[in-house]
């Protein structure tokens, strides 16, 4: 087998897989919301309402595409594409398992192990903001513009604490590659803790997760689409599959962010205390590692839902205040402490 063929298979598989998770997430979100709020949630289409996303998809596909008369057409059409493409491509550097050996060939379970994985995620992640601002601007709707502006300001602001939190991780592990960091989290830390990033970077983890929620426009940072204030934010004027792309892109973003959190802070595919890889064959370990990784990711996906239905929403200026006055100093402090610690111990 050629390397490029393997690469293509991996890309397709992971693409489908991420898509599938995102689809199921739309169901989980609504079902979870229902259960949290003492009601069943969607339970009509299929068993437990599992086909609900399918029904939604069909609905979105078959709806008439409407472009508002006064919209700036090119930007309007470009918006959702520019939003969903980076969302899909960002997962390329996130691992989803250890490695699998097929026909004597070692295949790492990651689309590409770039040695600047972090930078790729940060760079591609911030591309998404173009889709939002273009969609908001192109709609020629005041609510959309407000939503787009809110989103831009918020994403730009929270890139900084996100990057700073990641920087501390780089200090600890000395590499930019997510795979290397994952590998480094095997074993134990201080003798009794799993050797996970969260125990080495507890503050960094909190900073990262808060900034990640803000980047993903999730509650409590969902002001770009705060429906009680600005109707639907940047996608007020969108309908049919264009709206679908926006909504979809968000869920794909969630999958990526959860993957990054697991890879960096929660020991990737490692079980705590047990090194399963030593007991299992190469193929079975590949599958098991994938499952472990996926389970961890699902927990964080569920966290997104759980938090969403618990918290109220920030106000625009409070989000900015929290970002610039709260998170960035804390992140700097975190870097300082980490650097000091490394300097003292090494």
């Amino acid at each position: 087998m050629d390397d490029w063929l393997i690469a293509i298979i991996k890309v397709v598989c992971i693409w489908v897989w991420v898509l599938l998770i995102a689809v199921v997430m739309t169901w989980v979100e609504r079902r979870g919301a229902g259960l949290i709020q003492d009601r069943p949630g969607p339970n009509r289409a299929g068993p437990w309402g599992l086909f609900q996303p399918l029904a939604d998809g069909i609905k979105l596909f078959t709806k008439e595409e409407i472009i508002p008369t006064k919209a700036r057409k090119i930007l309007y059409i470009l918006g959702p594409l520019l939003f969903s493409l980076p969302a899909f491509s960002a997962y390329a550097v996130v691992p989803f398992g250890d490695k699998i050996i097929l026909g004597g060939k070692e295949i790492i379970l990651q689309v590409s192990d770039v040695n600047i994985g972090f930078l790729f995620i940060l760079a591609i992640g911030s591309m998404g903001v173009y889709g939002v601002i273009l969609g908001g601007w192109g709609s020629t709707n005041k609510y959309s513009i407000l939503g787009g502006l809110r989103s831009t300001a918020q994403m730009v602001s929270y890139e900084v604490p996100l990057g700073l939190a990641l920087l501390a991780i780089v200090f600890v592990y000395g590499t930019f590659s997510l795979r290397d960091i994952s590998l480094a989290q095997q074993g134990t830390f201080l003798g009794f803790l799993p050797n996970w990033g969260i125990f080495k970077q507890p503050l960094g983890f909190i900073l990262f997760i808060v900034a990640a929620y803000a980047e993903a426009n999730r509650v409590p940072f969902d002001l770009p689409e705060a429906e009680s204030e600005i109707v639907s934010g940047y996608h007020t004027e969108y309908g049919s599959m264009r709206l679908g792309l926006y909504l979809f892109g968000e869920y794909v973003n969630l999958v990526t962010i959860s993957g990054v959190i697991v890879a960096l802070y929660f020991g990737s595919w490692h079980m705590p205390y047990i090194d399963l890889g030593a007991y299992l064959g190469p193929i079975s370990w590949g599958i098991v590692s994938f499952c472990i990784f996926f389970l961890k990711v699902s927990f964080f996906l569920w966290m997104f839902v759980w938090v969403r239905w618990t918290l109220p929403r920030f106000r625009y200026d409070q989000v900015m205040g929290l970002g610039w006055r709260g998170l960035i100093p804390l992140a700097l402090f975190n870097i300082f402490i980490t650097a000091l610690f490394i300097q003292l111990t090494v």
Partner: protein, 379 residues
């Protein structure tokens, strides 16, 4: 304030954006419309525009008989129809000089307090939804459904109750009222508790509500505020205590008073009022049980009501504030003029002052906390 907030000036400006919020907008309660001029997200000027739900209730009343108007009052504040009914009935009874039997008054008290709880639950729930916290709304609304269940078993309707008749009430409490009430009481407390846990001490919630659209007591009185919003400003005024009607002077309850008159105070005042309402119902039900089972529920009123010519104003403390009916009679079977004084009408006109300098998101919080019901606003 030398600059009048509602005066019509041009909305065109290079520096400001004019945003038209409503009449169909996810968080406009009913059909309100607010034209805001914003500097970024800060509101420079807001002008409410009402009348989208105007149904000419006052005009309609002039063509109906006194009794036929009762169902129309249901449709004023549809979140709590019962105080509307009772307020109107009280006005006509005052005009006729009819004394309502005590047992009927107790039933009215019980039902009105239940309606007050239901209204506050909706108000707080919606306030949460408008600020992004969806879940408390559902916890509260489930208990409201239980309250509506009591209404349903009382006289057959859940929302538009058409409660009471001129001179009394139309039905006795259902036999299983006590059972339902004992079941409901802890559940309401639990739902309120959970709401408090989710919201009150949450920093996000506090940031969003404390100090938002604060109003001084002086301004509030000048603007004609009543009810929880006035009490949140620090004025202890409650018609149930100040001008007791329906035997309210026999119950012991406290009137919560706020300090700043901001959204948070209104929220807390409403929270405490629910608890007090529960206490009132307990006391009223105790008194009710002491009455003989065949005690009269209706005063002797003629079948066709023709009050003597005259005009009276009678008000009660609805969940939202002073809800008054002015009824003028010319001696015929139709009221000559009915004027409704809805509580949120007076509060909504202060909106330009309330939200000036706040942000768009605060405008939404402010409207929710005032509990604007378009049905009674536009009549």
């Amino acid at each position: 304030m030398n600059q009048n907030p509602t005066s019509q000036t041009s909305y065109e400006s290079d520096n400001y954006v004019t945003i038209n919020i409503g009449p169909s907008h996810p968080s406009m309660h009913g059909t309100l419309r607010i034209i805001t001029m914003t500097d970024g997200e800060t509101i420079v000027k807001a002008e409410p525009d009402i009348g989208y739900l105007h149904r000419g209730v006052e005009k309609l009343g002039e063509s109906l008989t006194y009794h036929q108007f009762i169902p129309i009052t249901d449709r004023l504040n549809y979140c709590s129809a019962i105080p509307n009914n009772v307020s109107y009935e009280m006005a006509v009874e005052k005009l006729m000089g009819v004394e309502v039997p005590e047992k009927a008054q107790l039933i009215r008290v019980i039902m009105m307090e239940l309606a007050r709880i239901a209204d506050h639950q909706v108000c707080i729930g919606i306030l949460g939804v408008d600020l992004g916290a969806f879940t408390p709304f559902f916890y509260l609304i489930i208990q409201r459904e239980e309250i509506y269940e009591i209404f349903e078993w009382f006289n057959g309707a859940r929302l538009t109750n058409t409660f009471g008749r001129i001179g009394g009430v139309d039905a006795d409490l259902p036999d299983d009222f006590e059972e339902r009430w004992e079941e409901l009481k802890p559940n309401v407390r639990k739902a309120n508790d959970e709401t408090e846990k989710l919201l009150t001490h949450n920093r996000i919630w506090m940031d969003r509500t404390i100090g938002i659209s604060a109003f001084s007591a002086e301004d509030a009185l000048n603007r004609g505020f009543t009810g929880p919003c006035l009490r949140a400003c620090g004025v202890k005024r409650d018609l149930r205590i100040d001008e007791p009607y329906c035997m309210y002077d026999k119950f012991k309850f406290e009137v919560p008073v706020g300090k700043n008159g901001d959204v948070f105070d209104r929220y807390i005042v409403r929270m405490i009022e629910m608890e007090e309402s529960l206490k009132i119902i307990d006391q009223a039900y105790k008194l009710y049980k002491e009455m003989p089972s065949d005690a009269p529920l209706m005063a002797r009123v003629p079948k066709v009501i023709k009050p003597p010519a005259g005009e009276v104003y009678s008000a009660l403390e609805s969940p939202n504030g002073e809800l008054g009916f002015f009824v003028k009679s010319n001696g015929s079977a139709n009221p000559y003029r009915i004027r409704i004084r809805p509580p949120c009408y007076m509060m909504f006109q202060a909106l330009p002052e309330l939200v000036k300098g706040e942000m768009v998101a605060d405008l939404i919080a402010c409207i929710s906390s005032l509990n604007i019901i378009a049905g009674e606003l536009d009549r």
